[in-house]
Structure formats: C-alpha cells, structure tokens
C-alpha cells in the first residue's frame, strides 16, 4: 500500500544523514521524486478517508480492506500484479511521448486497436503452431496500437492538430470500430448476449507464469518498461528525444529529425498500449469484445504522471494502482462502497499529484548548497 512508499521515503530521509551529512543535499532531487509523490498519495488517501467517513464508513476499515485487497494475501498480490501488467504498458503510452513534451491520453484507443489486430491475426492463422500465432499476435498488437497513436503524432507534426485532443477522440473512434466489427463482420454467431469475436483457442493463450496465477503479460510489461528506460536514458535516440522535448527549436538547429523522432516515439508508445490489448486478449479474455474497454488506458495516464513519466518508476506505481483497483471488489463486499469508489480515489490521487508539482525545489531541508 501507499504507506510503504511513504515509509521507504521517510527511511531514506532519516537514516541517511547519520552516515553522510551531505547526502540529503546531493541526492535532494532524487529524494524529492520519491517523497513528494509519496506524500501526495498519502494526502489523497487521507482525503478519501474523510470522504468515506461522510458516508458513515470507518476510514480505518477502509485502509485495512484496501491493504487486504491489494497486498494482504498471496491471492490479492496475484490479482494486483495481473492488473498492474496492462497498466505498465498503457502508462508507457503516455510516458514515452511525454519525453518529447507531448501529452497523449489515448492509450485506451491503442489498447483496443491492439486487441482487435491481435485477435484478427490469431483468427487468420488458426491451425499454425501456437508459438507462431502468439508471435504474430504480439506483432499485430504492437503494430495496430502503434499506428493508432502514430496517427496522433503525424496529425500533430503535419497538420498542427493538438495531440491531446486527437488522441482522446481516437479512443471513441476505436471503440466504435471495435463495436462495429464485433457486432458485424467478426462476430461469432454463437455469442448471443455479449457480441464477441470467435475465440482464439485455448492452445494459443499465453498462459500464466509457473507457480502463480499471474499471466505472462506482467513479464511483457516489465521488459517493455526496462527497454523504454534504456531507450530514453541510455541511447543517442533517447537523448535526441529529450533534447527535442526540452527545446524543439534547439533540436531543429542541431539537425535532429524531429518528425522522425515524433513518429517513432508515438509508434512505440502506441505499440506498448497495443501490446496491453494483445495481453488482455491472449491471457484474460480469449476473444475481443466490449469488455476490453475496462479503463486501463485511462488509469495508465495517472500511472505515468505519478511516475513523473519515468519508465522505471512506472513499474512500482502501476503495482500500487493495480492494488487499488484490485481492492475495489473487497471494498464493495465488506464496506458496501460502490465500485466507482476506486475511480474517485484515483481522481483524488491525480489531483494531489499534479498540485504537488508546485513543491519541487521548495522543501527547505533538501536544499542547501546546490
């Protein structure tokens, strides 16, 4: 739970000075990146506690059940990690373009297009060995989602269309295309109540990590996040992207291909979210239907902002947010809170995290000699 974030941050803050008096000052900014978002989450939890208190619930019960539902048992851990997997991938969809100073909030659309492409690939290749189908699904998912967000990037670069709004509009268009195909050309005639495509087949599912109920999508997410981190912070390409994000005119003057940067980054970002869609199909749903629009794309935006757009920080933050959504069921059963309480908490956290941006560089004991 969140107290862990705060505790670890506090531990860094209190233990370190004894060993090295200059530690706080030298690592001030790193500590800030942990301390401030951590404090924002704790503040948001406190406000949410007051909020449920207004409805006659005991906030301590709330925190207890949230902890139980998210991290209390091995079962809840597995639930949490299963939900964290798509969140890592959809968060990358916002975090990668953010390096270029772009605000992309259309991860949900890329997820749906990825799921649709992956399902199409699996259905078209039926009969081939499962491994071939799975690889084809990964490729199709990445390409489907990647092209979808690349469209936003291209519109921004070639037509000057704001990418935030275009990517969000594309979410609704993607949902319409998905519903259109699922209820029309791709519909399985046997799916009566819930129009769906045909199943991709049990043999072609990617399955779970041995010894757990957590599917391989988590590993996909971890690999993608680490790869994104290396790409952004340890390659020339990533350096160029960050230069362009810092000052687009400077980037043009030193001859960086800004168009190529934007299109590539948007493709990779959408590809990550598309992979999340592929994972949801190949590990959870087994087919494409409207269930896939479960809001992972929108929660991913929050994860990216909470992680301050850092691909590595996305991993723990996605687990935290996965835990919050995993605890939703328990809150509903034990405390009688509506299922939307998770959305309220996410909204409060988001507001607190953004407001906490004002605190950077202002915490007295972290300043000193710079």
């Amino acid at each position: 739970m969140t107290t862990e974030t705060a505790d670890s941050a506090a531990a860094v803050g209190t233990v370190a000075p004894a060993a090295d008096p200059g530690f706080l000052q030298r690592h001030g900014s790193t500590i800030e990146y942990v301390l401030i978002p951590g404090a924002a989450v704790v503040g948001a939890l406190a406000v949410f506690g007051v909020f449920v208190m207004l409805f006659g619930k005991n906030p301590l019960d709330l925190y207890f059940y949230m902890y139980q539902g998210a991290f209390g048992t091995w079962f809840s851990w597995q639930n949490t990690l299963t939900r964290a997997a798509p969140l890592i991938l959809t968060a990358l969809c916002t975090a990668l373009p953010a390096q270029l100073g772009m605000v992309i909030i259309g991860g949900e659309g890329a997820l749906l297009m990825g799921a649709l492409s992956a399902t199409s690939a699996a259905l078209a290749l039926q009969g081939l060995p499962p491994l071939v189908i799975q690889i084809a699904m990964v490729c199709a998912g990445v390409i489907g989602g990647g092209l979808w967000i690349m469209l936003s990037g291209a519109l921004r670069q070639y037509r000057g269309v704001n990418e935030t709004i275009s990517s969000l509009l594309l979410v609704y268009i993607a949902l319409a295309i998905l519903n259109h195909l699922v209820e029309g050309a791709m519909r399985d005639p046997a799916s009566l109540n819930k129009p769906s495509t045909r199943e991709i087949g049990a043999a072609n599912m990617i399955g779970t990590i041995p010894g757990t109920d957590v599917h391989w999508g988590l590993v996909f997410g971890l690999i993608a996040a680490i790869a994104a981190y290396i790409l952004i912070y340890h390659t020339v390409f990533g350096f160029a992207a960050r230069v362009a994000g810092g000052n687009i005119r400077a980037a043009k003057i030193v001859g960086l291909g800004v168009t190529k940067l934007i299109l590539t980054i948007c493709f990779l970002a959408g590809g990550a979210a598309g992979l999340a869609g592929m994972v949801e199909v190949a590990a959870v749903q087994g087919r494409t239907n409207a269930n896939l629009a479960a809001g992972y794309g929108f929660t991913g935006i929050l994860v990216a902002f909470l992680a301050r757009q850092n691909p590595l920080a996305i991993i723990p933050v996605a687990i935290l947010l996965g835990g919050i959504s995993a605890s939703g069921g328990l809150l509903q059963r034990r405390l009688g809170l509506p299922d939307a309480s998770v959305l309220v908490l996410q909204g409060i956290i988001f507001v607190f995290v953004l407001a906490s941006d004002a605190l950077y560089g202002r915490i007295g004991f972290l300043k000193g000699k710079s």
Binding site: I173, A340, L343
Partner: protein, 308 residues
C-alpha cells in the same frame, strides 16, 4: 398523413430534431470553454463537469421535485469544479492540460459514486415548448419539441459575442488571454480573472450536463456522456474561440450525432456504431482541415498552452 408514411424524410427530420436536441450540451460546454480559453487557460475537465452536472441536476430534481433547482445545482457544481481547476492551476509549475485530465477522471468517478442510488428513481424533467403544433406529422412535432435551455443557449451565444467585444469584463478576459503581462501592468490579477472565467465556464458546462439528465436522454446512468464534453472542447478550437461559430458548430454536431439513430429508425442498421462515432470523426476531420503546422490559429488567445 399516417404515421410512418413520410418514409425517408424521417432521416433529415431526425437530424434536424437532433441538431436542436443533441446540440444543447455541446452548446453550453463550448460556450463555457470559450470563456475559459479566452482568458488564457484550457479546462479539459469539462467532460467530468458535464457528468457531475448531469448527476447533481438529477439528484436535486428528484429530491426537491423542481427540475429548475436541479439546473441551478448543476451550475453550482460546475462552478465549484471550475474553481478547483483554477485553484490548482494557479499554483506554480502546474500544467493546466494535466489538471484537466485529472478532473475529467475525478468528476466522472465522483458522479458515478454519488449517482449510484439515482439510477433507479425517476426525477421530474424539464418541460419542453411545442413548436410543432401546426403540423399533424408526429415526427415533425417530435423534432420541434424544444427545451428552454436550448433557447437560452442560442441567446447566450450572441450575448457573449457582444460581451467579449464591448464590455469591460470581456476586454479583461481577452487581455488576460492575449498577454498576462499587459493585464498585470493594468493592475489586474490574472489569476483572479482566470479563476472567474473558469468558474463561469464550469457553471455553463454543468448546466449542459443538467440537460442530459433532465431532458434528453432524460435519465441518469453511467453511460450518459461518452465524450460530449471533450468533443465540445475540440469544437471551441475550430470555432476559432468565437461564440457565434460555437453555436453553428454545436448545431452541426447535434445533427451528426443524431444521424446514427435516425438511420436506424428507417432500417439502416449496418454501421450503426460508426454513425454514432460521427461527431468524433467530424471533429477530427475539421481539425485536420483547419489546423496548420505553419502558423498559430487565427483568433487563438496567445497565452493558451494548447495551441503552441
């Protein structure tokens, strides 16, 4: 003339009716956003404001029995959310686009949470004025049942147009939007101007939401708004921050949104979902046509972060 004998005329009639009925939330949200953006700030959270407005209007109308009280409650809720947006944005280094996204999620979540008990009961709805009394054709009469809020919205557009040009308040808002330094030099607080502009914008967006739950579709459920708020924000951009153009654009959108159901009613069911996405496709298409990477848009407030 018997029912149904007007055949394919149903489609243009339904589109006309839709232009009147469906356009009202677009109209209110876009006029509200127009005020906010003219002051130099963008509020993407109006999607959340719209849903919160719809929920609170329905709740208050149900509890008090007066739909107009519901409309007022929706406006106040919207203004409070606007104040929250402006309050957070006035902190240093806080990005208004991101705050808008956060409030979009927060507003929808809060509305779903508080609105759970409201899905079942039926609240008193807003009355409609029958402009189709002269006709015997039921479709014509249905298309011309007009809500008072629509008329208020239509009247508001030219009033705002005039207010931006000539009144002291209009000039102050535009000054804050074009050059915050100039506004500051004149001795005005830019943050305060933007706070008020965002609150008024939220007030109008909340009223737009009350139309959704109290007139058309006229009930509260969680699928009530699917992106109307964000479409309206995009609409302001290609209406060039001009309230009168916002009015025409909203009417076009309402018509586009009514196309899917209209075609379904005459038996064209294939592509239903695609026609339902018509407003979003239309928005995107118009943005692609009217935007340009070479220059900033004419009429764009210079302080606006989103047109950079």
């Amino acid at each position: 003339m018997a029912d149904g004998s007007i055949g394919l005329w149903t489609v243009p009639l339904a589109v006309l009716g839709g232009a009147i009925r469906v356009s009202t939330p677009f109209l209110f949200v876009s006029l509200g956003e127009c005020i906010t953006e003219r002051s130099g700030r963008i509020n993407l959270g109006l999607e959340g404001t719209l849903v919160m407005g719809a929920m609170s209007a329905y709740g208050i109308s149900y509890l008090s029995g007066s739909p107009w009280l519901g409309v007022l409650a929706a406006g106040i809720t919207g203004a409070l959310l606007g104040a929250l947006h402006a309050g957070i944005c006035s902190l240093p280094r806080v990005n208004d686009v991101a705050v808008g996204i956060a409030l979009m999620l927060f507003g929808t979540g809060l509305a779903f949470y508080l609105g759970k008990p409201l899905i079942e009961p039926t609240a008193p709805r807003l009355p409609a004025i029958d402009f189709g009394w002269w006709s015997d054709i039921p479709q014509v009469r249905a298309a011309l049942r007009v809500n008072v809020l629509f008329l208020i919205g239509v009247a508001l557009a030219p009033v705002l147009y005039w207010a931006f040009r000539t009144t002291r308040w209009g000039l102050l808002i535009r000054t804050a939007g074009e050059s915050s330094d100039a506004a500051r030099a004149m001795g005005h607080s830019v943050l305060l101007i933007r706070l008020r502009a965002t609150m008024v914008g939220g007030f109008l967006a909340g009223i737009g939401g009350s139309f959704l739950s109290l007139f058309y579709p006229g009930s509260w459920n969680e699928g009530l708004s699917s992106g109307q708020g964000i479409t309206a924000v995009a609409l302001v951009i290609f209406a060039r921050w001009d309230p009168l153009l916002c009015l025409w654009a909203s009417l076009a959108f309402g018509g586009a949104a009514a196309l899917g159901p209209a075609l379904q009613s005459v038996g064209v069911t294939s592509g239903y979902h695609l026609f339902n996405a018509a407003p979003y496709i239309l928005t995107l298409a118009i943005m692609i046509i009217t935007c340009s990477p070479k220059r900033t848009l004419t009429g764009a407030p210079a302080e606006l972060s989103i047109t950079r």
